[in-house]
Symmetry: C2
Subunit: 211 residues, 2 copies
C-alpha cells in the first residue's frame, strides 16, 4: 500500500524503479522467505523475530519496519486490488454469487500459480495458530469493507446500511470457513470447487432443507 503511492513521486513511470525501491522489495521478500523456511523447520511459535532477522540478514528493527506484526509476515498478500478491479469489471446483470465465483477463482488461480506452497502453508497456519487466524479474520473484515463498496455500486444500496454490511461480512465469514475447511482436510479438495459450493449455500441456503 505505502509503496504503491510512493512509487510515482514526480517522474513518469520508469521501468527500473531505482535502487532504493529494488532493495526494499528484496528485503521484504527476504524476510518473508526466511520466515516461511523457519516456520517449516521449527513451527510458528518457536520461530522468533530475532531468528527471522538473522536469516534474512537484517536487524530485528528492520523486520518490524517492514511488517507491523509477526503474523503479518505470514499472511500479507496483495490480491485485494486485483480482486476489486475484477469485481467491478464483471457484467452488470451477473448475479453476485457468480461475480464472486469469478473473482475468487481469478485470485486463487493467481495465488496458487505464483506460490502454491505458501498459499497452503498460510491456510494451515490459519488453522493451527490462533494469532495467525485472528490476523486473517482482521484482513477478511477489511476485504469485507471493500466488498460492500463494490456491491453498493452494483446494487445501488447504501454501503453503510446494516443490510449490506451484514451481507458482506456473512459472505466473508463463509469464505473464511472454506479456507479453514480446505486446510483441515489436508488441502485434498480443489479449493475453487469449495468456493463455488460455499457461494451456492450463501445464495440458495442449505440443501435438503425440508420442502
Amino acid at each position: 500500500m505505502t509503496s504503491m503511492t510512493a512509487a510515482r513521486t514526480t517522474s513518469a513511470d520508469r521501468p527500473q524503479p531505482g535502487l532504493r525501491e529494488r532493495k526494499k522489495i528484496k528485503t521484504r521478500q527476504a524476510i518473508r522467505t526466511a520466515t516461511y523456511a523457519l516456520i517449516e523447520e521449527q513451527g510458528y511459535d518457536a520461530t522468533t523475530v530475532e531468528q527471522i532477522a538473522e536469516r534474512a540478514e537484517v536487524s530485528p528493527s528492520t523486520v518490524f519496519r517492514y511488517f507491523p506484526t509477526k503474523e503479518d509476515i505470514v499472511i500479507t498478500d496483495e490480491w485485494d486490488p486485483v480482486m476489486m478491479a475484477e469485481l467491478r469489471a464483471r457484467p452488470e446483470d451477473e448475479s453476485w454469487a457468480d461475480v464472486l465465483k469469478h473473482v475468487m477463482r481469478t485470485a486463487l488461480d493467481l495465488s496458487l500459480a505464483e506460490e502454491p506452497e505458501v498459499t497452503r502453508l498460510r491456510t494451515r497456519l490459519g488453522v493451527e495458530v490462533p494469532a495467525v487466524r485472528a490476523r486473517m479474520m482482521e484482513s477478511m473484515a477489511a476485504t469485507g469493507r471493500l466488498l460492500r463498496e463494490a456491491l453498493a455500486e452494483r446494487s445501488g444500496l447504501d454501503p453503510d446500511s446494516l443490510e449490506l454490511r451484514v451481507f458482506a461480512m456473512s459472505v466473508m465469514g463463509g469464505l473464511m470457513e472454506v479456507s479453514q475447511y480446505w486446510a483441515e482436510t489436508g488441502h485434498r479438495d480443489d479449493i475453487r470447487e469449495l468456493v463455488d459450493r460455499a457461494l451456492d449455500v450463501l445464495e440458495h441456503g442449505l440443501p435438503t432443507g425440508k420442502p
Copy 2:
C-alpha cells in the same frame, strides 16, 4: 470450566458451594470490575495488568490464573450454554432464522438486563481495540461450531460438511457485524431489531435486488 468439573467431588450438591469456590467467584468478579473501571478511566491500551491486579487487590500472577489473556477479562461471557439449550428447545418446524431470532433475543435480554453498561462497553471495545475484536471473532468462531452441531441435529445434515460449516460461519459473521454496527452507531438502535433485520438478510438475501 475447571470449576464445574471440580464442583462435585464426592458429596451431593450443596446450596453453599464452600468458601473456596465463593472466594474464587469473588476474585474473578473483582478482576473484571477493576478492569472495566480502569478502561473507562484510561482506555484499554493504557491499562496494564499490573494496574488491574493492584485495584483488584491480587497479584498479577493471579490475574493470569483467572484469565488467559487481557482481552479475555473483557469479553468472556457465559451465555453459550444458555443459548444452546434455548436452541434445542425450539419447536422442530420453526425456520432456522426464527429459531436464531428467539435465541439471540433471549441471550440479549439476559445480557442487557444483567449488566447493560458492560454489554455496551464490550461492543465498543470490539470496534476500537483490534485485539479485543480479534478475541471476539475467535469466540464467535467457537460459538459457530456449537451452532452447527445444533443445526445438524435439526436438519439431519452432517455437522462436518462444508455446507453446514459455511452456513454457520456466515451466520456468525453477520451477527458479528451487527455488534460492530450497533457500537459504531453509538448504541442508538435496539439491537434486537438489528439482529432480526440481519437474520432476514441471511434468510432472504438483500432487499431491493432486481426481480
